[in-house]
């Protein structure tokens, strides 16, 4: 758990961070976000004291961070920045081993830990152990940076716009990976970004800063449906708010039992799945936008997985012109379906919250 209490940083009489207080529970993923110059990066760097505090306190798992020697504190907190933060003269393995080396772990333990982390980030140790940062792609370098931050099993992880320098495609992959690693390790993470989609994708808590002040600290959905003021509303963006909401909802929350025979109760939406012997969906009868009674062969591109976001499910429905997607497990077996009604259902719920 980390608590910021009245955190303040002033340069030449101006407060770039002004009386920021918030608490992040152990295992949460906190995102600091705001326009440039809002003090989000400075706030992050005060946690590991790369920037000295002007006022206030930071309590990390019960310890006031200013009571600890700075180097010792930083070895307890993982720190990841853009890929250029890798040591260019050290191999991938040496880079990952930075903090364990400083902590003087025995060599065999360091080697095991490096292998473990490389496996966690899908970097083949044989291929990558001895490569140098300049031989890596942006995505690979960034994985090494996060692996380095996690190496000594720190109490928490600080990440300063770690995916700012990679292309959008790689960024999505890295975000998904970070999310998985967060779930696997249960680490408390504080993450700085200026990208609201990234925040909504990753955060369990979002702190929105403006001009050094904390404007709103909330769960992502609350921030969308109950913005504290016009600034928050504007910063989140209203044009695709519905889609943003869908991006925080998951298929498994809204899927229902698959329809295996025709029902005439829903005119226009009547449909039925054809299965093969292994229980995999083969074709969809009905429920097409352009043809109510036709038979559509099921393609892997428009099946849904339980952990998929509703936004992606909706996108597939629109693209493949079907009103319902089969939800399949890893073996491809039909375990449910997600329909337009399920997706629209959450809209009603969100509006209900606002009123």
């Amino acid at each position: 758990m980390i608590e910021l209490q009245g955190l303040t940083k002033s340069y030449a009489g101006t407060n770039v961070v002004d009386d920021v207080s918030l608490t992040l529970e152990t295992g949460e993923f906190g995102v600091l976000i705001g326009p440039s110059g809002c003090g989000k990066s400075t706030t992050l760097k005060m946690i590991n004291r790369l920037v000295p505090l002007s006022g206030g306190r930071i309590i990390l798992n019960g310890d006031d961070v200013t009571d600890l020697p700075a180097e010792q504190l930083r070895r307890r907190i993982g720190y990841a920045i853009q890929s250029t933060g890798l040591f260019p003269h050290w191999s991938v393995a040496q880079n990952i081993a930075t903090v364990p080396q400083l902590l003087k772990w025995p060599k065999s333990r360091i080697d095991d830990r490096v292998d473990e982390l490389m496996a966690m980030f899908h970097l083949d140790p044989v291929e990558f152990r001895h490569k140098y940062p300049h031989q890596l792609s942006g995505g690979q370098a960034q994985r090494v940076g996060v692996a380095r931050a996690l190496a000594a099993d720190p109490e928490m992880l600080l990440m300063d716009e770690p995916f700012g320098a990679v292309d959008p495609l790689t960024r999505e992959v890295l975000q998904a990976e970070l999310k998985r690693v967060h779930q696997q390790t249960g680490k408390t993470i504080v993450f700085v970004t200026h990208d609201m989609d990234e925040a909504l994708q990753l955060a369990t808590r979002i702190a929105l800063l403006n001009g050094g002040r904390l404007v709103q600290y909330d769960r992502p959905i609350e921030m969308m449906v109950k913005p504290a003021d016009d600034f928050v509303r504007e910063f989140i963006g209203q044009a695709d708010l519905g889609l943003k909401l869908l991006s925080r909802r998951w298929v498994h929350q809204y899927q229902r039992a698959p329809s295996l025979e025709h029902h005439a109760t829903l005119p226009g939406l009547d449909h039925c799945w054809q299965l093969d012997d292994a229980g995999r969906p083969v074709a969809l009868e009905g429920a097409r936008l352009d043809d109510d009674h036709g038979v559509t062969p099921v393609k892997a591109e428009w099946t849904a997985k339980p952990e998929m976001s509703l936004k992606e499910a909706l996108s597939r429905m629109v693209w493949y012109r079907v009103m319902v997607l089969p939800v399949v497990d890893d073996a491809g077996k039909l375990i449910g379906e997600i329909g337009m009604q399920g997706i629209m259902g959450i809209q009603a719920e969100a509006e209900g919250r606002v009123s």
Binding site: E71, R74, Y79, T84, G85, P88, H89, L102, Y132, H134
Partner: protein
């Protein structure tokens, strides 16, 4: 694939370099020990000279004295230069940076002969004033390149080093110095090569070096002496330069 071709090409270039270096080293040692064997050649080239081979001292002695002068003065230049470069790039010494840089630049603009002239009344004749002049003269490239080399270390790399819990000493030793090393070595290379040439004028104040036959030849109008001294100084400089090139390559990584 591309990297492999590049690597092979570099390997071939390096082995060709090894060949040249080997030949030059053999030539340098051979001429130092066996200059006497060339007496008939010099006699044929300079029939008017009664004494076409410098014989007041062995060339081995002169070579060792010359290397000693250069080693000693370079050691002083490097020690002071790197220390000064490190000092002015630390937070405590940052405000001294302009002063140190301009002092070193002034040291460079003084002709070494002038420094010798000033050093002689202070340190007497011989070895000591030569060392003073050479050390001062070799200081600038070392200081400049130390500052420049440390300046090339990216800010994000330093922040990562701090953020991962390295203390100042660990950052210097594990990150800054290794990354600055190729540039610092390039500075030492310039300093040493310049001093190999400049050390010859130490002979004007009585320091034994390869300049001794050179000066004697100039004073006594004996071109053979001048050639013998200059040949060895030139070879020594080229061999040293090639050795430094290989050292730099070893310390540079990646591309």
């Amino acid at each position: 694939m591309n990297g492999a071709i590049h690597g092979a090409r570099r390997l071939r270039a390096a082995s060709a370099g090894n060949g040249v270096l080997g030949v030059l080293i053999v030539l340098l040692i051979g001429l130092t020990l066996g200059m006497g064997q060339l007496e008939p050649l010099f006699r044929a080239l300079f029939p008017d000279l009664g004494n076409p081979l410098y014989a007041r001292d062995s060339f081995l002695n002169l070579m060792l004295a010359h290397i000693g002068l250069v080693l000693m003065s370079s050691l002083i230049s490097v020690t002071i230069g790197v220390a000064a470069g490190l000092f002015v790039t630390r937070p405590v010494g940052r405000e001294f940076e302009p002063m140190v840089s301009s002092l070193a630049a002034i040291g460079q603009t003084f002709p070494p002969a002038a420094v010798l002239a000033i050093a002689v009344p202070l340190a007497g004749f011989g070895f000591a004033p030569t060392i003073i002049a050479l050390s001062l003269y070799g200081l600038l490239p070392v200081i400049q390149n130390t500052i420049a080399g440390l300046g090339t270390v990216p800010q994000t790399t330093l922040e990562a080093a701090r953020g991962n819990g390295m203390n100042r000493w660990q950052i210097l030793r594990r990150v800054e110095l290794p990354l600055a090393m190729p540039v610092i070595i390039a500075g030492i290379r310039i300093s040493v090569i310049v001093n190999i040439g400049t050390a010859t004028i130490g002979s004007t104040v009585g320091a034994k070096s390869l300049g001794t036959p050179l000066i004697a030849g100039l004073v006594g109008n004996n071109l053979a002496y001048v050639i013998q001294g200059a040949l060895l100084v030139g070879l020594l400089a080229i061999v040293t330069d090639l050795l430094f090139e290989r050292l730099e390559r070893r310390y540079s990584f990646g591309g």
